[in-house]
Symmetry: D2
Amino acid sequence: MPDLSLPEKLIRWRRDFHRHPELGFCEYRTAARVAATLEALGWGVTAGREVMDPAVRMELPPAAEIAAARAEALRDDADPAWVARFEDGLTGVVGTLDSGRPGPVLAFRVDLDALPVVESDDGAAHAPAREGFASIHSGRMHACGHDGHTAIGLGLATVLPALAPKLRGKIKLIFQPAEEGCRGAGSMVAAGVLDDVDHYVATHLGISAQQTGLVACGVDGFLATTKLDGHFTGVAAHAGVAPHEGRNALLAAATATVQLHAIARHGAGASRVNVGLLSGGAARNIVADRATLKLEVRGATSAINAWMTVEAGRILRASAELHGVQVRVENMGSAGSAICDTALKAAVRRAAARVPGIAQVADTLPMGGSEDATLMMEAVQARGGEATYVLVGTPLPAGHHHPRFDIDEAALSLAVDLHATLAQELLGGTVDPGRLPPQKQ
Amino acid sequence: MPDLSLPEKLIRWRRDFHRHPELGFCEYRTAARVAATLEALGWGVTAGREVMDPAVRMELPPAAEIAAARAEALRDDADPAWVARFEDGLTGVVGTLDSGRPGPVLAFRVDLDALPVVESDDGAAHAPAREGFASIHSGRMHACGHDGHTAIGLGLATVLPALAPKLRGKIKLIFQPAEEGCRGAGSMVAAGVLDDVDHYVATHLGISAQQTGLVACGVDGFLATTKLDGHFTGVAAHAGVAPHEGRNALLAAATATVQLHAIARHGAGASRVNVGLLSGGAARNIVADRATLKLEVRGATSAINAWMTVEAGRILRASAELHGVQVRVENMGSAGSAICDTALKAAVRRAAARVPGIAQVADTLPMGGSEDATLMMEAVQARGGEATYVLVGTPLPAGHHHPRFDIDEAALSLAVDLHATLAQELLGGTVDPGRLPPQKQ
Amino acid sequence: MPDLSLPEKLIRWRRDFHRHPELGFCEYRTAARVAATLEALGWGVTAGREVMDPAVRMELPPAAEIAAARAEALRDDADPAWVARFEDGLTGVVGTLDSGRPGPVLAFRVDLDALPVVESDDGAAHAPAREGFASIHSGRMHACGHDGHTAIGLGLATVLPALAPKLRGKIKLIFQPAEEGCRGAGSMVAAGVLDDVDHYVATHLGISAQQTGLVACGVDGFLATTKLDGHFTGVAAHAGVAPHEGRNALLAAATATVQLHAIARHGAGASRVNVGLLSGGAARNIVADRATLKLEVRGATSAINAWMTVEAGRILRASAELHGVQVRVENMGSAGSAICDTALKAAVRRAAARVPGIAQVADTLPMGGSEDATLMMEAVQARGGEATYVLVGTPLPAGHHHPRFDIDEAALSLAVDLHATLAQELLGGTVDPGRLPPQKQ
Amino acid sequence: MPDLSLPEKLIRWRRDFHRHPELGFCEYRTAARVAATLEALGWGVTAGREVMDPAVRMELPPAAEIAAARAEALRDDADPAWVARFEDGLTGVVGTLDSGRPGPVLAFRVDLDALPVVESDDGAAHAPAREGFASIHSGRMHACGHDGHTAIGLGLATVLPALAPKLRGKIKLIFQPAEEGCRGAGSMVAAGVLDDVDHYVATHLGISAQQTGLVACGVDGFLATTKLDGHFTGVAAHAGVAPHEGRNALLAAATATVQLHAIARHGAGASRVNVGLLSGGAARNIVADRATLKLEVRGATSAINAWMTVEAGRILRASAELHGVQVRVENMGSAGSAICDTALKAAVRRAAARVPGIAQVADTLPMGGSEDATLMMEAVQARGGEATYVLVGTPLPAGHHHPRFDIDEAALSLAVDLHATLAQELLGGTVDPGRLPPQKQ
């Protein structure tokens, strides 16, 4: 797209990704486009097993589903060489740009995955339907803005090389799979992607920043979260002839569902619990020998979330015991409750002040949900680095995860400008020492 | 199969049906074979809408599933003319043989449908696998002996015409779809199939008659039953951000599940309740706005079952109310608790005494389950006729509904001999008036 | 009462006991009257620790309550010497009459205790109120006929000595405390009271024999039963400030209550469960750290009851675990499911035939409840003896345990005549050997 | 006590009240002492029906309990004339001091009632036990400091008359009964006690101010609350013979208990629910026909509390419906979630600065519980007045409501000095107009 302006490119990328949504650990086409674009722009590219630990991925889809996603990506013109690099669902990509001068490492993180939502086809109310870039895969949709995030990442990949001669240190662009469900970040942390990062900036469109030109330098109110599955196994029996010979796994799961929601409120701050999915049983007239729960707990702090997780585990096991059945509890995902660093938020504020079109800057806006970017933030902060989570404002015709979710595409180039300026703030040759971030050794 | 003996024919039929199991209201191939055979043997044949009231079928499969079954039957060589007669799942068939002489109407009833069971492929332990007539449709199996029942029906169709010149009255062979789940009999009753029947005999292989040569003239311990579905509808919400905005349909369903199992025991006799299936929710982090229960209640008498049904309905509605959600309760099937008539059981005993190979005759053996033949029995008894439910013994390598269920095929010709002899007992010219059944007006 | 006829004496006794009802293990006055009367009539008398094992009494009242009952008895003219024999609630009495000739041991058993029921004061509808012998202890009432049973026992004590010269063997009159709740019989069994008994006859007025002159030689349908208490202990906490610091014992008890009622029906016969009492908590705004359940399970057979007991125990423990609290489960009573012996029922029938006024004799009538006489029956049958449970008919103005329960006092002398005649049947010198019961070694 | 210093008097009063704790609406002796003292010091005194609306008192004790408290107070030397004024539990008292000059009305509020707590008798650890002023009424204790609050009220009654000549407006001393359970304030509001108040100051010792010399000018984090009782009524039945004839009130109550604790978390802020007491049933073998729950809900805002109250009501009713029983839901108390006014907090800060011994002043400390002073605060704020809730610091050997709760009595005179100085700040002749509170018309 050599003859397009950057805003035009951003829209072109975003709409392409919007049409081709891919679920977590299945982002073959998206990741292949990202990798090929980074490479063409001169970035060092690592991908697949280089940037993800296969063992710590949470709630990996069945192999058949991943294989189908891979085949679909190839049909949709994904580059077979890159697809091969992503092996079995290792769809993470990292681009690296080295200034050649000593200095800190700055990482920008965006996410790649879509949601299992049926997109609205109401052209009157939903621009993607009206303008022809709605999802071509029924039942999947970019309803959380990650299509825009990925486009912003490619926008940065486009503009930063020209700035590099004036910068110190290195820039990493992290393209993370499977943010939904908080399933992918841990794998990149485990693979060491954050091990050299001094400044970490994750970015999201919308959330509580709901007008174009508004930016939040950080967020608070991350809820730490743990995702659990409970698999109950009992003994089937004929419900008419010998109900007493059964061990009712469905009754255990129903008991657990009610009781999990009755975990005591925590006096020290917000807690959450939700059994979002339950399925069990084989036939109406058979005592059910199998049932599965999918649930999550959350807490305003990691400590509250840990307490909720302990409660939930005990309730699952005791509900099984109550009905004389077995239960296997599996950890399917988690995120922490990170705090955005003051100095880094100040740098974002300075950068924002330099970007035309950014009309309003908030120090902190509420997050009010969970994000596995927190795992990366914690990793960076644990080694003495700084991290923040930036919101780039956009009006929202409908909330996140809604079939009519959409963004103002004008926010995309504002986001690129903001982050590129931030890179200059943090890595620029002329920054005064007082503003220098902590140096890695 | 002109050159085969009757026992050979029975086995041939039974194995053909065993290889091609079809679920309730989808028995296109089976019913077409039955109809064509009856016609070829000179029986009057009515079918489809003539013998079933489409409106009262319970738990009809989705139209797409019925259409797929129909297409499959055509691929498997079902006669297209007959298939067309069965329209959208009206797969019942009735054969009629009129002696031309005044007299009572005797009906024999067999059932056609198979079960959603994966048949064992263990040739060492399971004869159908070993001898090559196991189900060719994975996930469906004749695990309740209906393949044998249908073969017995065709055996009777074969032998009775030769006896007709010596009989009075009429014989009806009723081939009922969808006995599993007690879903099909009501439709045939509503269509008037039983309106002229004086003697009604339903037949089952096995149950509590578990040796070849043993016959029970009747059964007791039918449990009356009602099958219900509960569809709960609430309001989805983000479980982290706004759990209070949700109305949790899954929690309502889980509550109902536990509470249904806590319905008080009935002091007047056995009762049962089972929630066999529950599924609900959309995603782990969304308050579930949808959940469905499949349940059944039973009672030793129709009164107890009716009481259980009232309790279950109230509990489903109150569980919805408890969580502020909606529920729709659907009646998916039912059966009564009929009593076998003494005079008719005596006739079966006399017939059994005349059949070589029947070594042992029980007056009554326990049923201990539910059967919608009871609806036909009640219809016949309500008009002054008599009804019984005959068990024809067979050893069972594994219980009914088990993946290794099988029968001793020698029982098939014993069954045909017994029922043909019973026809002579009941409709023979020489029976003394004292043994005459009540005459219809 | 030397100048009264036996029927007059029976009524006098019964009304005296009716006015002074005493709860289980508190029958000081009643037992003292019984013991003194037996002694005066020449019976050998054992009592207290001689006939009861203190350790196996179930649900013993608090010591203060027993002491108060003892004081009350002394105020109500109970013989202090006998009261002293009953120590701390050991209120059982056994009278023995030895014929001096070898022969079997025949035991008659009656029960002593009243119920915590407020007696009706409606003279128009309730004879005891009208005729001035209603309970003088508000909140206690002989609403199950044990006043009559005890009178029958004293009637037998009166008439049998005159018959003794014509009998063989021995007669025992067992006056059992605490039948209500099935709490007292086990203690007498453990003390060896039944160890030499060959024929055991327990007796009850009414139940399913509801007309004067009707006798049942035996009963069926005893429900075996186990009585359990669950004591839950958690941790209190301020429900507003720190609900998460609590461990909610009340929630555990409520969970157990619902789940106990959801124990699966048993396919082999009737089962029952009831949580009859629950109390817990200290204040509205405190997480409850204490709760207690009183429950019972029953089964048509001892095996079903044992299964129910296992289920209940597991549910109590798992409900505690579910809420992270402790539970102590205490066995508070039990009864079996005995079967009345055919030969002994036949002897009752022969005796009944000889009693004028007994107009109708049933072989067996339904019991439909629980009785700890079954523990004695089982003990006798276990050593090769025979046992039965005789019903002596009386019309019932209101059912057992009702505030207007009453009996036809004419039934009392019929009962005495029946049992005295039975003694002659069983121990008479002229019985033929074929009718002799099994002899102890 | 003419010859004692004020600090000595305060300690004398406090210890006298501590020895004679009285529960809510039973504070006859305490209120009589207060009224008599006010009168002796020249205050106008209104009491009983003049200052309380009898109809809106929540959770009034049974009449017999109130009568017993009244008799006890008379035995303990309460003035019979004042006791008579308090009629049936109308134990509120208000003292009024009019400066005779126009100006605002300032109200100080203290509370009178004790708690149903057994006081520690451990002299080593508990000063009241060691020094001989522990409660003489076992099972009742001033474990929340109200004895000190009442003493502070009497201290103000002592010192303010001397200041009156220099003040404008009026001062009211409100002595409120039944603060525990949030049961008494509403009655005084309904009687119009707050209708002329411009400045309202409620006072508490301790809470989050836990050192002597520390004062908080206001609090935040009041949890709004509603107290509910649920009375379930079903139908009793014999649990062995006819369980199906029962309607189980206890099962309904247990269901409600579990389900109430499962009310969804509220996304907008803290919520609470606690079923603190449950009792039900009559006997182990009877289906329970009666059960009662005592519960409370709370919310960080009145809106959240209102939402919780609606949820709780629906759950109580639906739990009854689920088990086919009746329920009556009674509102037993409530409190709001008031906000302390900034200008009034500033006045407290100015006053505190003038009191020797007050070493540290916090603008706002957390409340973290519920208080029905909020109802008075809301009433004053609704008419344009200002309100705050002052904490006077004291170390706490054990938390509020604990058997070893105690205070540093030195805090009492600090509190009197602070409030008297505050009266000068607010009603002094020389205050500048800018600091004048809103004037009533």
